[in-house]
């Protein structure tokens, strides 16, 4: 209010000083003119100005107050929003930190599970290897046994064949008779 009065006073003073300085110029020139008209003009201007001031003082003041309130409110809201943003930022930062921890935990868990899985696979592979080795051993033993049996059978067959050949060559009539006599003897035993 006081600032506005001072400001309006300055305006009036300025206008009057201008008016008087113009009058001085007119007086110094010593020529004709109409100083009374200028004076009245100035008076009417000042009156108009005072009227305007008296009429517009309150609306302008209200407008300025309102504007100040708005700016103040905006500043407060901005501060509030800044606070909220800060809070959100902190919240997210906290979440981020927490997420990092979770990621680290998850990573650790995956690593542990991976390690366990690796161990399981290795154990299984070792077991499978043992089983295959054992199986191969059994198969090899069986094959060796089969080969031995086949060899023995072949040897026996050859021996019998040779024996048959020798018997055919060396069986004489007296041998036949002896064999028949033995046969009769065995028949007698059966009885």
């Amino acid at each position: 209010m006081s600032r506005f009065s001072a400001w309006s006073g300055y305006v009036i003073f300025g206008i009057l000083s201008q008016a008087f300085s113009a009058d001085d110029l007119w007086a110094a020139g010593g020529g004709g003119g109409v100083p009374g008209e200028v004076f009245w003009q100035i008076i009417s201007f000042v009156l108009l100005l005072l009227l305007l001031i008296s009429v517009l003082k309150n609306p302008i003041r209200a407008f300025l107050r309102k504007r100040r309130e708005e700016i103040k409110s905006s500043l407060e809201q901005s501060a509030k929003k800044e606070g909220e943003s800060q809070k959100t930022f902190e919240n997210w930062e906290r979440k981020l930190n927490s997420l990092s921890q979770e990621v680290a935990d998850l990573h650790q868990k995956i690593s542990q599970e991976g390690e366990m899985e690796r161990q399981r696979i290795v154990e299984r592979a070792l077991e499978e290897g043992d089983r295959i080795r054992q199986q191969a051993k059994v198969v090899a033993e069986q094959e060796v046994k089969k080969a031995r049996t086949a060899l023995r059978r072949e040897m026996v067959a050859l021996s019998i064949e040779l024996a048959e050949k020798l018997l055919k060559e060396s069986t004489y009539p007296q041998d036949q008779e002896r064999l028949v006599r033995e046969y009769i003897g065995k028949m007698r035993e059966i009885r």
Partner: protein, 180 residues
Amino acid sequence: MISLTLARKYARALLEIGLQGGNYETLGKDLEKVTDLLKKNKELKNILISAAYPAATRKAIARAISISIALSKSTVDFIDLLIERDRMDHFPEIASSYESLCDGVAKRIRATLVTAVALSPELINDIKSQLESTTGREVILSLEEDPSLIGGVRTLIGNVIYDGSLKTQLSIVKENLYKE
């Protein structure tokens, strides 16, 4: 199977006639003679079993033959009956069944003696005697030679085999060696 049943039926009927007449052995020999003849003479066999020829003609042929090979009256009548009933095609089976029935009545058995080489009659008689002694029946031996036996003999009586051949002994040795 039907043929065997039928043959057994006719053989049994003839055996009864033979037993009544006391000549069942003669009848058996007659059947053997006719079987041999039919086996040797296929043409005669075909005529006797063929329905294309009248039964009277076939009977006349059979009678003519029976005179030449000296068949008994019962045998001739039996052949007439077979011709009448068109059963001559079963004659070999009937003769075989009769032989079995006859052996049963006479308490004798038939055996096949298989040898690697021909044996002396003395040895064969010894084997026969021993077989009769073992079975307690008269044994009619038929002889066969099989060099694959190498040595010794093998006797077949029905389903029973008495094996004393070197071949079988070698087989036993072979099997024992396989098992070891």
